[in-house]
Symmetry: C2
Subunit: 282 residues, 2 copies
């Protein structure tokens, strides 16, 4: 089995590692426009061989793990190159645009739109982790548009690496993921920004930061190159979540200004409901 | 050595555990207005004996770990009760108010104002953890107002349990802690609220939440009983941080509305600077 991984960052690299583990006979080829990353992936044993686009015709499986804007032109080109029995899997954080771009592609049945919800705040081949996807959720969109045998081939991988599968419409995916993922990133980036603006020149102050700050600001380490195109593609949904978030923060501030600490208590107590929800996640 | 711990929640309970470990000859007495918590602390071995306020005259060390509003009346009463050689240590998240309330107390020299910056999102005696304070920072305020021998007695504890000590003016403490702790909690609570409002009746959606969401929303599990009085006491500083945070979020939203994704990229890249800062923390 020839597996091509296009884009050897955190997600692509981690998938390559897991595929090597679960498919000992597979040959994992790496493709990356960044030659240094490609070499690094080879040196780290993430891939078995370096390859280029012209080799993709040999592929049985192609996993595309590149920024969601670049995807829109690269995936149609890959589909043009692959053989009839090959499946091309995208793993981006937005699903509406790529499904829309490919809807009339003659090889649409060779494509599977997925979003494996896993990651860390790090990026590049060094960030790749074995077992990253274990017990995580993979959202698959428009499954009915993929050839049945190719669905099976892709599912076999996701099941072997330990993922739960959920099926969802791409539009719904993008709307909900704005709340449970994209908004968290912006809230964290802007928290980091607010604190840096105040404290940048007072390094001692960060001695005062405990694990609470580290945890809420962790996502502010994430890659701008990955996240900018995500926010761009999911612009309308993300703006909506931001407006709701800003409104909630403003109300909280106004309650403080009005000395309505009873209501502040109630707000926090109601939001403690998140405990039950998070218990459901883990 | 008779150590009294008043308030057997996460912080008081964890201190009691560490003191038992590092001072095998100490007798740790627990005081808590919640009789169930007091019994639980005894059953869990967090304290050696249950006690009440009238026993406090026996104390060599009193640690007060109760909500910061209740503190303001309880600590003066405790100071009235203790012997000349005893030190009364508060561990609350705000420092200006308690220092102000005690500034003319006849036993001010028996009091030490501290803020051990450690914790989890859990509360009550069950949340107590051995070693919670290891490598964490303790901010001590107005150290010069505490009798020298009593400073030494308190410092001995904090050093033995593994803390770094920083000295700071109470007003500066409250201003900076608003950024690196209090704001994180509100940002997390309001993130939780925003997502719950949208998704409460769509439980399946939370399958989509990954570790990023869990991490940014973790502090929204925190105790309203502890945090409401903190926000109340640090009202002016917290409102200021909230205004700056809301302004930053609003600018980010406006950049998105203007399709200025170059600037969005720059904002995120600049905020990646938080990596260096967090490396300094851990």
């Amino acid at each position: 089995m020839n597996v091509f991984v296009v884009g050897l960052g955190l997600i692509g690299g981690s998938l390559a590692l897991d595929i090597q583990e679960h498919y000992p006979k597979a040959v994992v080829y790496g493709v990356d426009k960044n030659e240094a990353h490609l070499q690094e992936a080879l040196d780290l044993g993430i891939i078995n061989q370096k390859a280029s686009f012209t080799d993709i015709e040999k592929a049985d499986i192609v996993i595309v793990a590149i920024p969601v804007d670049v995807q829109l032109t690269v995936i149609p080109e890959i589909l043009d190159l692959v053989k009839e029995h090959a499946v091309v899997i995208d793993v981006g954080s937005t699903k509406f645009k790529i499904c829309d771009v490919l809807k009339n592609h003659p090889k649409r049945r060779n494509f599977l739109a997925t979003h494996p919800i896993a990651g860390t705040e790090f990026s590049g081949p060094k960030a790749a982790l074995k077992g990253l996807f274990k017990k995580k959720t993979n959202i698959i969109c428009e499954v009915e548009k993929t050839a049945f045998k190719l669905q099976e081939k892709a599912l076999d991988i996701f099941i072997k690496i330990g993922m739960r599968i959920r099926y969802m419409d791409p539009k719904m995916h993008d709307e909900h993921i704005a709340y449970v993922s994209h908004l968290s990133h912006i809230s964290s980036f802007m928290l980091g920004k607010t604190v840096i603006e105040k404290e940048k020149n007072e390094r001692d102050i960060f001695d005062m930061a405990g694990s609470g700050f580290s945890s809420t600001v962790r996502l502010a380490k994430s890659s701008p190159a990955m996240w900018t195109p995500i926010f761009k593609q999911n612009k309308e949904n993300v703006i909506k979540t931001l407006e709701e978030y800003i409104n909630n923060l403003t109300s909280f501030k106004e309650l403080m200004q009005q000395d309505n600490f009873l209501e502040i208590y109630n707000e926090m107590q109601n939001t403690n409901y998140i405990k039950q929800i998070l218990n459901g996640i883990h």
